[in-house]
C-alpha cells in the first residue's frame, strides 16, 4: 500500500528506510489509522526523522494526495545556497551589479536579505520568460553560479486542495523555516558552543579510584584507605584570529566573537586577533587593525601548545597570498609572501585550524582556499565543521 508515496518521498530526497515503511504498514494493519489526517501525522512520525525534512514531506504529501505540484529536489537548499553566493558576490559588487543588471550604487545599498529576495525575483522572471530553459547565469563564465538549472524555490501554489484538512496543513508548509542546514547562524550558536566544550580537558575529578583503593586497603592490612582520582590538567590556551576585513566576512565576525566569548570561561586564556584576507607581517589585537599590532615574528613567544583557530573566507586574489607584494594595503607592503607566514604559523604551533564560512561545496572554485587548506586543516564554519576542528585541535 502507498508504495508510490514511499518512492515519492525517497525521490524527493527524504531518507525513508524500508523498515520504517513496514512499520507504517503495521500501523495500518492494526487499524490505528482511520483518516487522512491520521495518516498524515502517523506516517510523518514513522517515516521522517528530522524536522528538516518536514517541509519536503508536506510538499510530497500534498503532491500525492492532492495533486499539488511536485517539489523540486533541491528546493530546500536553494535559498541557503543563494545566500552563500550573494555573500561571495558582495566582495565584488561590480560583478554582482552586472549579474543583477542594477547600478553598483544601488547594489551597495541593499542588505543581504534584500539581495536574496531580488535575486529570487529576477530568477522567477527569467524562468517565466524561458520556460524549460535550464540555464541562466554565466555558464562557464566567471560567476560562481555552479548549479544552473535550479528550479525556483519558495512557495508553490498547490492544485485544488481536497477536502482533507491534512492536505491543507501540508499545503501550508509550516515547517519551511526548519528546512535549512549549512553554515553557522545565530540560532545554532548554542549548539556550536556545545561542540566547543569538548575543547576542555577534564578538570578536577573527585572520583574514588576503586582499584587503587582496594590495593591500598590490602596493603594497609585491611584498614580502608581511600584513593581519589584527581586529574588537574591545565586548561587550554586559545588564540583566535578573525578576518574582519571585507564585506564577505561581516556577517560572521560578530557571530564568531560571540561564540568564543561565551566559551571564554573554559579556556585558560583566549586571545583574539584580527587580520584582513590573510596574515602578513602582523596580526592586530584591535578590530580597527592599526593600534596594537603583534608581529608574526614574535608569535613563537606564545606557548607552543596554544590552539590556533583562524576564521576567514580565504578568498582573495592569488597574488595577495603568494606574492611578496601581495598586501592590498600599499603602505604596509613587505617582501615575505603571506603563504610563507601561514606556513610559519602552522610549523610553530602544532594545533592550527582554519574555519571557513564559505560552504565547503564552493571551495574548489577558489584557488586560494585550496592553497591555504594545504597548509593547515580547513573546516567549514558549521556545526559539523566545528566538531571536526575540535577533534583536530585536541589531537595529541
Amino acid at each position: 500500500m502507498f508504495a508510490a508515496f514511499f518512492y515519492a518521498l525517497r525521490d524527493a530526497g527524504i531518507p525513508v528506510s524500508p523498515t520504517s515503511f513496514l512499520r507504517l504498514q503495521r500501523a495500518l494493519g492494526l487499524g490505528l489509522i482511520g483518516s487522512v489526517d491520521d495518516f498524515y501525522a502517523v506516517a510523518r512520525s514513522l517515516l521522517v526523522k528530522s524536522e528538516r525534512y518536514f517541509d519536503l514531506y508536506d510538499q510530497v504529501f500534498a503532491h500525492i494526495f492532492a495533486g499539488a505540484e511536485a517539489p523540486a529536489v533541491d528546493t530546500v537548499e536553494l535559498s541557503a545556497a543563494i545566500r552563500a553566493l550573494i555573500e561571495q558576490w558582495l566582495a565584488e559588487p561590480a560583478e554582482l551589479a552586472r549579474l543583477l543588471k542594477l547600478p553598483v550604487a544601488q547594489v551597495r545599498k541593499l542588505s543581504a536579505d534584500e539581495l536574496v529576495e531580488y535575486f529570487l525575483k529576477t530568477l522567477a522572471e527569467q524562468q517565466a520568460a524561458h520556460r524549460g530553459g535550464s540555464r541562466w547565469i554565466g555558464t562557464g563564465g566567471t560567476s560562481p553560479v555552479g548549479h544552473s538549472g535550479n528550479h525556483l524555490g519558495g512557495m508553490r501554489v498547490g492544485g485544488g486542495p481536497g477536502n482533507f484538512s491534512a492536505i491543507k496543513v501540508a499545503l501550508d508548509r509550516r515547517y519551511h523555516d526548519y528546512a535549512q542546514g549549512g553554515v553557522l547562524t545565530d540560532q545554532l550558536l548554542g549548539e556550536a558552543l556545545k561542540r566547543l566544550r569538548h575543547l576542555k580537558p577534564s578538570g578536577p575529578k573527585d572520583q574514588i579510584d576503586i582499584d587503587a583503593t582496594i590495593y591500598q586497603t590490602v596493603r594497609n592490612a585491611g584498614e580502608i584507605e581511600l584513593v581519589f582520582e584527581q586529574h588537574l590538567k591545565d586548561k587550554l590556551k586559545v588564540a583566535l584570529a578573525v578576518d574582519n576585513g571585507g564585506w564577505s566576512m561581516v556577517p560572521y565576525v560578530k557571530l564568531v566573537q560571540r561564540l568564543f566569548d561565551q566559551a571564554r570561561a573554559q579556556f585558560k586564556e583566549l586571545r583574539t586577533f584580527f587580520f584582513h584576507n590573510t596574515i602578513y607581517d602582523a596580526l592586530w589585537e584591535d578590530a580597527a587593525r592599526y593600534k596594537k599590532p603583534l608581529k608574526v615574528d614574535e608569535l613563537p613567544r606564545l606557548e607552543p601548545e596554544t590552539r590556533w583557530i583562524i576564521v576567514g573566507d580565504a578568498s582573495m586574489a592569488p597574488d595577495e597570498l603568494e606574492s611578496g607584494w601581495g598586501n592590498i594595503y600599499l603602505d604596509s607592503r613587505r617582501d615575505r609572501p603571506s603563504i610563507e607566514r601561514l606556513h610559519f604559523i602552522a610549523r610553530t604551533f602544532k594545533h592550527c585550524v582554519w574555519l571557513n564560512p564559505v560552504p565547503q561545496r564552493y571551495w574548489k572554485g577558489t584557488p586560494t582556499i585550496s592553497a591555504i587548506a594545504a597548509i593547515m586543516p580547513m573546516y567549514e564554519l558549521s556545526l559539523d565543521g566545528i566538531e571536526q576542528a575540535v577533534v583536530q585541535l585536541m589531537r595529541k
Binding site: T19, I33, A41, Q187, G190, E223
Partner: protein
C-alpha cells in the same frame, strides 16, 4: 497485542494538538520510543508528565548528563559500601552476596517495576553518540546484563518511552531508525491562547489579548539568542498577575514590565529593551 491499548487523550494541564495525540498513540501501540524535538520550553518534558497523568501510570525520569555512562542508567554496583561492610562488618547486609550491593538505575527501575511505567529520557543530546546507540540497544531488546552477577534483567512490562532532545543537529541514523519522531513546532497564537487558558482559567480576556500580542511581537525581535517560549510566557503572566501596579492597558501602549522574565540572557535583554525603547 490483543489487550486493548491505553489511549492518550490529553491531561488537565497539557494542551494537546490532535497531531501529537495521534503520534503518541501510535508510538504506544507500535511499542516504539517516541523521540521529541523542538525549541526549549515548548513542552517536550511536560508531554511525558501528561501521558503518565492521563494513563495513571508512574513516571520514571532519567535526566541525561554529559558525563553519564550507560551502565549508570541501568544499575549501580556499590563497591564502596561493600568494602566498608567487609571491613567493619556491622551492617545487616551479607557481604558475600553481591546482589545486596546492586541498585537499579532509572532504566533498571523501569524494567523491574511491577506496573507498566512511563520512562522519560530527558535531553538525550547531552550524552555522546555511543551512549545513545547503546541505550537504544537496551531499549530495543528490553533487557540488559548485570556483569557482576551474570544475570539478565528483562523488562516485566514494556515501558512507554519518551525521549527528548534539544539538539538542532540530528541524532545518529541507527538511533532515529528505532524511534518514532516528532518535532514540536512553536505554538501559533491560537494554540498558545488555549495553552495559556489551561494554566490561567481566570485570566481576563483583555489582558490575555494584550499579553499574547506583546509576546509574539517580542519573539519577532531579530538577533536574540534565546527567544522566549511557552515556559517564559507562563512565568511572565504569573509575574504580571502578582504585580499590584500592573495595568493591562500598559501593554497596549508598548510597555513591557518584567522583561527579565522573558529574556534571560543579558545580551538578549538589552536587545529587547532597546527595541522597545525605540518603538515607543
Amino acid at each position: 497485542m490483543n489487550a486493548p491499548q491505553p489511549r492518550f487523550t490529553g491531561a488537565a494541564s497539557y494542551v494537546l494538538d490532535d497531531e501529537l495525540a495521534k503520534i503518541v498513540n501510535v508510538s504506544i501501540a507500535l511499542e516504539l520510543p517516541l523521540l521529541l524535538k523542538g525549541e526549549p520550553g515548548t513542552g517536550k518534558t511536560m508531554l511525558a508528565h501528561a501521558i503518565a497523568d492521563s494513563l495513571g501510570l508512574p513516571l520514571i525520569v532519567l535526566n541525561v548528563k554529559s558525563s553519564m555512562k550507560l551502565v549508570d542508567a541501568l544499575y549501580q554496583y556499590d563497591t564502596l559500601t561493600r568494602l566498608n561492610d567487609s571491613r567493619f562488618g556491622d551492617s545487616k547486609r551479607n557481604v558475600s552476596n553481591i546482589e545486596e550491593y546492586l541498585r537499579m538505575g532509572k532504566i533498571g527501575q523501569a524494567f523491574t517495576s511491577e506496573q507498566r511505567v512511563v520512562l522519560l529520557i530527558d535531553e538525550i543530546d547531552k550524552a555522546d553518540t555511543d551512549f545513545q546507540d547503546d541505550m537504544l540497544d537496551v531499549l530495543d531488546q528490553m533487557q540488559f546484563d548485570i556483569i557482576e552477577v551474570d544475570q539478565t534483567i528483562k523488562a516485566r512490562q514494556r515501558p512507554i518511552i519518551v525521549i527528548t532532545s534539544n539538539a538542532k543537529k540530528d541524532l545518529s541514523d541507527p538511533f532515529l531508525g528505532r524511534c518514532n519522531f516528532h518535532h514540536i513546532a512553536f505554538p501559533d497564537a491560537e494554540l498558545m491562547r488555549r495553552i495559556v487558558v489551561t494554566h490561567f482559567p481566570t485570566l481576563q480576556e483583555q489582558l490575555l489579548e494584550a499579553a499574547l500580542g506583546a509576546f509574539y511581537r517580542l519573539r519577532a525581535i531579530e538577533g536574540v539568542e534565546k527567544k522566549p517560549a511557552t515556559r517564559e510566557l507562563i512565568n511572565w503572566l504569573r509575574a504580571l498577575q502578582s504585580d499590584p501596579d500592573f495595568k493591562p492597558d500598559a501593554l497596549k501602549q508598548g510597555a513591557v514590565p518584567h522583561l527579565g522574565v522573558l529574556f534571560k540572557k543579558s545580551g538578549d535583554y538589552a536587545a529587547a529593551y532597546n527595541k522597545l525603547a525605540r518603538s515607543r
